[in-house]
């Protein structure tokens, strides 16, 4: 495989930026669809049981109400993988907040009023919504999200731990967290005979179309998804969620276009969340810091509908060398909504635990935490034995330390005081796999000298539209302003969703291949374009499948400087510095924003975010943005992201690894480690709240 000769990497302003700052970029709910009605979901108020009756009379009596839907009167969907999408297909209630009915009305206001007027009777069963270790129903799944094995084992980890001169054994917890994109999930569904158009807030228009076609038993191509702009997704819009299916069901039922927008409160139960985790990490080391044993056990939850198990312990499989190792995922299926992807599923909570544990081990060894990581740097992937396509973790640690000013750090905790502030610094590593999926793209030369490239990608704020334009322009050998990059439509062909940090590599490969083929044809015809234009279609399925076995990951090192109010225990992150190595960076402007954005979300995870399960009711007691805190502007201060340029010929034609998730991995640990350095208080449970810090401060 050869990488492009031409260098992408220019600081190009977002091609849709003007639309976004002027408010003309259209998001799903904003398409001017005439005669649209409004659907509003009615959610279960019991955590488990069956709907006995839906009393719709009061709702139907309201002027403007067109229909009340429930499991007895909607279209029968076919199964399509995710049981959460079987909206209104059964009277069974699997969790509080599940959609049990819906109202369709001629105004948003009436729909909401009518939904409140629907009275639902239930047969209520006992429920269990609380994740507890020791629950006999906990099991180890064969595989976890991403297709990884649920458990791996090398050597004899227990014997190695027993023999290790230094052992760290600690348990860390992370709460359920929520993606909370600023654009709530929204859909406009329009049926025309047996074809369906969905204007959908979407990370993956092609896959959404394919899934909806499957649900409604329609041929491929009968469902079109339009997602020109998506107001953030972070995993929750990667595949369709119940509100999208509800829109399609409702529109079909009433024979008119229907708009659905999840309310902010509904978002917390309808569009998935990040599983809570309870993680025990055991590390055995020689006195020189060399790890002999690594054992990472992660307990998580899912619903009774589907055994979604996140790959929380998988980063531990690749991070550090050790002869004896074990990673285990355990799962409890509870009466709760099904969790799913949230930015760096698995890696984000998993690396909080592992990188906190490494810091604790460094303290126990009296060793610098960077040096501890360096001495445990593996030469090949520690579990698969595959060579690394490229791995620059050590360089990131070294270069990041230099930029951050790590040298000379006094490791003793609780020693640096500035007025009422205790100040400290911390470090943690980042990792994320460099994933690539097959995709198709078309490149077209127009007679007027311009080019149109089409791919069913989505730009959810990543800068994909801009980066792909750059890739196309380079391959075609033309200026960027001659290339129009059309994305956001399922009709542009098979392509993966914006997720797994694989967008640029997967879509970019197809774009590059199509453009390269087009450039070749143009070369053969001496640049002449017939009146009908010239078009090339590319499919990367074979190229992706033909890749050799390598361990492909992006790495990074994150450094945090925090100050803790010694009176109150409040934590302020003064500075975050990330040094990353993620292959070639296509666009430093948008990649930098992605990395910094990930770090901001990591900060938010460290200090603010946490859904509170109320086991009595079976839901999250806090379910709005006033009680589920995400970082505000005042919480985010000096955030810097840098990167090392990496040449990696084993990735894709661009040589890129993806940066969407890397930035959130490790941030929380870097902050927790800095809080320890500042105060001497080790907080192993996220978020790091004042009471958790204060519990360890002197005098408490």
């Amino acid at each position: 495989m050869t990488t492009l000769q031409r260098t992408v990497g220019a600081d190009v302003t977002r091609v849709e930026g003007h639309q976004k700052v002027t408010g003309t970029a259209l998001y799903a709910y904003e398409y001017p669809v005439p005669d649209a009605l409004y659907a509003w979901a009615v959610q279960s108020t019991v955590p488990r049981g069956r709907v006995r009756a839906v009393h719709a009379g009061a709702a139907l009596a309201l002027p403007g109400v067109v229909a009340v839907l429930d499991s007895r009167n909607v279209f029968r969907l076919r199964p399509a993988g995710d049981p959460e999408l079987a909206v209104l297909q059964s009277a069974d209630v699997a969790y509080r907040g599940q959609i049990v009915a819906a109202v369709v009305a001629d105004s948003y206001e009436t729909a909401g009023q009518a939904a409140a007027a629907v009275r639902v009777e239930y047969d209520v069963d006992d429920h269990d919504a609380e994740l507890t270790d020791g629950d006999p129903r906990i099991f180890v799944p064969d595989t976890v999200n991403g297709g990884y094995p649920g458990q791996t084992e090398t050597g004899d980890v227990e014997a190695a731990l027993a023999a290790a001169p230094v052992v760290l054994d600690a348990t860390y917890t992370t709460p359920p967290e929520h993606t909370s994109a600023m654009e709530p999930h929204a859909t406009i569904a329009v049926w025309d005979e047996d074809s369906l158009t969905l204007y959908n807030g979407d990370q993956g228009p092609w896959m959404t179309a394919a899934t909806l076609a499957e649900l409604f038993g329609l041929p491929e191509g009968a469902v079109r998804v339009v997602a020109d702009h998506t107001g953030g997704g972070f995993g929750s819009k990667a595949v369709p969620r119940p509100p999208t299916v509800l829109a399609a069901l409702a529109a079909r039922a009433v024979g008119r276009p229907v708009k659905v927008a999840a309310t902010r409160q509904q978002m917390f139960t309808m569009v998935t969340y990040r599983t809570p985790t309870l993680q025990r990490v055991r590390l055995g080391a020689e006195r020189d810091g060399r790890l002999t044993a690594v054992w990472h056990d992660a307990l998580q939850q899912s619903s009774t509908l589907a055994p979604y198990c996140e790959q929380t312990a998988t980063p531990t499989r690749v991070m550090y060398a050790a002869r004896h190792r074990r990673t285990t995922h355990r799962l409890a299926q509870l009466d709760v909504p099904t969790p799913s992807w949230m930015r760096a599923p698995g890696e984000a909570p998993g690396m909080f635990a592992l990188e906190s544990a490494m810091d604790e081990l460094a303290v126990a060894l009296g060793m610098d935490p960077i040096e501890l990581r360096v001495v445990n740097e593996p030469s090949v992937d520690p579990e698969s034995g595959h060579p690394f396509s490229s791995r620059n973790l050590v360089a990131c640690l070294r270069e990041g330390a230099a930029r951050f000013g790590w040298a000379g750090r006094d490791p003793a905790p609780g020693r640096r005081r500035e007025g009422r502030w205790l100040v400290g610094t911390g470090v943690a590593a980042s990792v994320f796999p460099a994933i690539t999926w097959p995709a198709t793209a078309t490149a077209r030369a127009e007679p007027d000298g311009t080019f149109t490239v089409r791919i069913a990608a989505a730009d959810i704020g990543t800068g994909a539209r801009t980066a792909l334009t750059q890739v196309a322009a380079d391959e075609l050998g033309v200026e960027i302003d001659r290339v129009t990059l059309d994305i956001g439509r399922s009709a542009y062909g098979q392509a993966p969703f914006a997720g797994g940090s694989m967008g640029t590599s997967s879509w970019g490969w197809a774009v590059a291949k199509a453009c390269r083929a087009l450039a070749k044809r143009l070369g053969e015809s001496a640049g002449a374009v017939p009146p009908g234009g010239l078009e090339e279609l590319a499919d990367t399925a074979e190229d992706v499948a033909a890749r050799r076995d390598f361990s492909r990951h992006a790495y990074g090192a994150q450094f945090a400087r925090v100050r803790v109010d010694a009176v109150t225990g409040q934590v302020r992150v003064d500075r975050l510095l990330g040094m990353f190595a993620a292959g070639r960076i296509i666009n430093p402007r948008t990649a930098g924003s992605q990395l910094r954005g990930g770090m901001c979300m990591g900060l938010s995870m460290a200090l603010h975010e946490g859904l509170e399960v109320d086991p009595r009711f079976g839901d999250f007691a806090n379910h709005d943005l006033a009680t589920y805190h995400i970082a505000a502007n005042a919480d985010v201060r000096d955030v810097q992201a840098y990167w090392l340029e990496e040449d990696d010929d084993e990735l894709n034609p661009m040589g890129s690894k993806g940066v969407g998730e890397l930035g959130i991995v490790g941030t929380a640990a870097a902050i927790a480690n800095a809080v320890y350095h500042a105060t001497g208080v080790r907080v192993r449970d996220l978020p790091i709240t004042v009471e958790r810090v204060r519990a360890g401060l002197p005098g408490h």
Binding site: E109, A116, H608, D614, F617, A621, N622, A632, T689, V690
Partner: protein, 332 residues
């Protein structure tokens, strides 16, 4: 939300008459809490009487140093007022620590006093709540109550009052001015304005149907006073208080506390005036130990719950630190 009739009141008489006639009629001023609660179904008025055009929008500074704040003065205007910033900086700080820039531009002084609790169960109509639906029970005592009160609570309700402004006003001995339905004026101390939940947590203030808050008066602050507002919260901005302390302190020449007034937020079912702590400190030297003891004494009657017990020590620390800093010449 249920449909409602809307009337824009042009005179106080009209407004009062309309609202007094029915428990289903409400005044609408800034709307930042009322509209929120209407969307949640917590409040379902049949008639909304818009009072934003009534003549209660002035800030009148009195020659004696006091000030009369019209009920319709917005939080941002009040915090921006030079006289308020000069003479009542703790009030400006409290206002600016609350909500957000775009909420403060419309949220009014009168409305701020009447903010409802942000208890998650009060706001969720699918769950029991004695404040929202008397007699249904309190979901918070055995549920999520980290943000809720430890002082003034009852078995029926532990909801905290969410206002920052009112906490500063409590410490500043504010007087609430009302217009009764019959047109007669009434003035009462803010500290007598709020009711404790007891068995009737749905009743939060002494207001009678149709009563209209017309303004809040702050008496002139004591001579030589220093004051501050400290707020501890989960974000550095745009979050309700876990604990807040409004401290108003005047020191005598001999270093004793001549006058001390403390308002507490985040810990009480109403903006909490820390009378016991004040009593123990007045006339005393503000030693670290004395401050801490007095602050602790204020919480002798506290009823902490597992999720909010941390607030007591936290409040003691913040009170101690706030007063110590004021005496030492540090305001913030």
């Amino acid at each position: 939300m249920k449909p409602f009739a809307y009337e824009r009141a042009t005179t106080p008489e009209t407004a009062a008459t309309l609202v007094a006639d029915s428990t289903e009629a409400v005044y609408l001023a800034g709307g930042t809490n009322l509209v929120d609660l209407m969307k949640l179904g917590v409040t379902e008025p049949a008639v909304v009487v818009d009072i934003t055009r009534l003549p209660y929008d002035a800030i009148e500074h009195r020659p004696d140093g006091g000030v009369l704040i019209g009920a319709l003065v917005s939080g941002s205007r009040l915090a921006g007022d030079p006289g308020v910033r000069e003479r009542f900086p703790a009030l400006a700080e409290a206002l600016l620590s609350g909500a957000s820039g775009q909420l403060r531009t419309v949220a009014t002084t009168g409305g701020n006093l009447l903010q409802r609790t942000r208890c998650v169960y009060f706001q969720d109509v699918t769950k029991p709540c004695n404040k929202r639906q008397p007699g249904t029970g309190c979901s918070a005592v055995q549920g999520l109550h980290r943000d809720l009160a430890v002082l003034g609570t009852s078995d029926a309700c532990v909801a905290s009052h969410p206002s920052d402004m009112a906490v500063a006003m409590a410490a500043l001995d504010a007087v609430v001015h009302l217009r009764r339905v019959n047109g007669s004026p009434r003035a009462l101390p803010l500290n007598d304005f709020y009711l404790l939940p007891g068995d009737t947590p749905d009743r939060e203030t002494v207001l009678q149907p149709g009563d209209l808050i017309t303004g809040v008066e702050l008496p002139p602050p004591p001579e030589g006073v220093a004051m501050s507002y400290r707020k501890v919260r989960d974000r550095w901005s745009y979050a309700f208080a876990l604990v807040s302390v409004a401290a108003v302190v005047a020191t005598a020449a001999d270093g004793t506390l001549r006058d001390i007034r403390l308002g507490l937020g985040g810990v009480g079912t109403r903006p909490w005036r820390a009378r016991e702590a004040e009593r123990l400190l007045t006339g005393r030297r503000p030693t670290e130990e004395g401050l801490r003891e007095a602050a602790r004494a204020e919480f002798a009657s506290a009823r902490p719950l597992p999720g909010n017990a941390f607030k007591i020590d936290l409040a003691v620390d913040v009170i101690t630190s706030a007063v110590r800093d004021l005496v030492g010449g540090e305001r913030r």
